[in-house]
Structure formats: structure tokens, C-alpha cells
Subunit: 126 residues, 2 copies
DNA sequence: TCTATATATGAATAATTGTTCATGTGATTT
DNA sequence: AAATCACATGAACAATTATTCATATATAGA
């Protein structure tokens, strides 16, 4: 008959040296937790928002579609740096682009982004 | 009388080697941009969300208040690692805590956090 | 007061990441 | 075709950061 301490006997927790104080809660939360993979993707998404240059780029694109060179000038940074960051934003599907001759115009991919940003801003301004 | 090109004469833009294609847009967006300090804080906030361990901790606290040891067990990580991350979450005012004897219970600080997480989740699941 | 337990924290290390530099690619113009 | 412009990208370097290990602090109980 398994009880709340059985798992400690069978497989000692190497990583947490203290006792589980509330096994019922841990189990309940454990069942509710989304898959690791999903949580990993969520963290990865927020990691993209977690850089000042990228936040500025996103904010800029709230206002208007812009080309790489415009953004570089706006932020006072090299074209290369901006291009690298746009790549990251592209990979996370936060921005999309269209080519017009030699110029590439970037814009926001959808409106979640604005919502996420605004919630973050609200928290910071509180 | 300053004009739109003056700053280029006085202090050449070392960082962006290409021409500004759309000065009107750059100026307009530049005026709308919040202070650097605010955007820096917003990025810093999202940086906190941008780690898998912290995202899991936050998600766990959506479900229930938990003590450090419970969280460590839930995530299969060391107490020390969790404690360090809780410190980060505390500093960003994302979690609060109450002490009950030897145990410290952590919980979410406000509801922005859930909203931010859910928006991120929606984006990822699309 | 002494011991045990839950948590916090400083230092060290390994891994990740943002920018620069140099160069490559695709489109336009002459 | 050659030159030029806008942008992309690989490699390298510096800075940041997550975890571990060792140890410190705070509370409870004997």
C-alpha cells in the first residue's frame, strides 16, 4: 500500500535534501502542469521579449512598418546588430517582412505582441 | 538654424553605414518611444519570464501557494537553485511570501502575471 | 543552550547570448 | 557585366546568467 513516503524509500531525491512538506499540493500542481515542451516554448518566447534592443524594435513596429536601416538609425545601432535581432524576432514569429526592391520592411506579426508588451508595461509602471 | 541633417554633420553615425531611407517615419516613431529607462525595465521584466525554471515556478504558483521545498520537489531541482530563482522573482515583484515557522510560502503577487503568461501561451500554441 | 530543519546566499563554473567585424547574398542601376 | 546598396550571416569575444557547492541565517524543539 503506497503512502506519502514510499517514493523516498524507492528512489531518494538526490536533488532536494529537504522533506516534502505538502505532498498533496505537489501532486495536484504536478497534474495541472502543462508539458515541459510547452513551458519551454513559453519561456523561449519571453526570452525574446527580454532584451532591450528587441523590445525597442517591437515598440517601433507598433507605430509603423520599418526597414532595417530605419530601425538601426532609430536605435543608434549597427545594421548588423539589428539584422541579427530581427532574425530572432522572425524565428519566434513576432515579426513578418516584405521585400520592396533592395529594401526589406518589417512589421508585427499579430496583436498578441502588443497585449503582452502592454501587460508588461503596466506591471512596470505600477 | 538646425535642420534634419545637422546631427549627421556634427556627429556622423558611426554605427549605421546605410542611408536612412524614411526619415519622417524614424522621427515620428522616435517621438512616440517611451523613455529608455522604462523600456529597459520592461525588457528586464520579460527576462524574468524567459527562463524555464522560473516559468514553471510561476505556473505552479498559479495553482497554489507553495513552500520552497515543495517547489524543489515538484521541479526535481535543488532547494538552492529554487531559492535563487525565487529571489529573482521576488526582486521583480512577481511573487510574495509569508513565513510560517520554519517554512516560507510563496505566492503570486498580482494577476498581471497570469495574463502575461496566458498571452504567451496563446502565441506559442497558435 | 544545543541540535535539527527550512531557507538564503556568496563564490565559482559552465552555458548562453548580444554585439562587432568581416564577408556573403540578392536586387538595382549604370 | 560591374558597381552599388540594403540586408543577412558566420565566427569571435565579452558579458550575462543558471546551477552547484559550501556555508550562513532563522525558527522550532529538546
Amino acid at each position: 500500500m503506497p503512502n506519502q513516503f514510499d517514493y523516498q524509500k524507492e528512489e531518494p531525491i538526490a536533488r532536494c535534501e529537504c522533506n516534502v512538506v505538502h505532498k498533496d499540493i505537489v501532486d495536484q500542481v504536478s497534474n495541472q502542469m502543462p508539458d515541459d515542451e510547452i513551458l519551454y516554448d513559453v519561456a523561449d518566447l519571453f526570452k525574446v521579449f527580454g532584451d532591450c534592443t528587441r523590445i525597442k524594435i517591437l515598440y517601433a513596429l507598433f507605430e509603423s512598418e520599418m526597414c532595417v536601416c530605419d530601425i538601426a538609425d532609430l536605435l543608434g545601432m549597427s545594421q548588423s546588430a539589428i539584422s541579427h535581432q530581427l532574425r530572432v524576432l522572425k524565428q519566434s514569429r513576432l515579426v513578418k517582412y516584405r521585400r520592396d526592391g533592395k529594401t526589406v520592411f518589417y512589421s508585427l506579426n499579430d496583436d498578441h505582441i502588443k497585449t503582452i508588451f502592454n501587460q508588461g508595461l503596466e506591471h512596470v509602471l505600477e
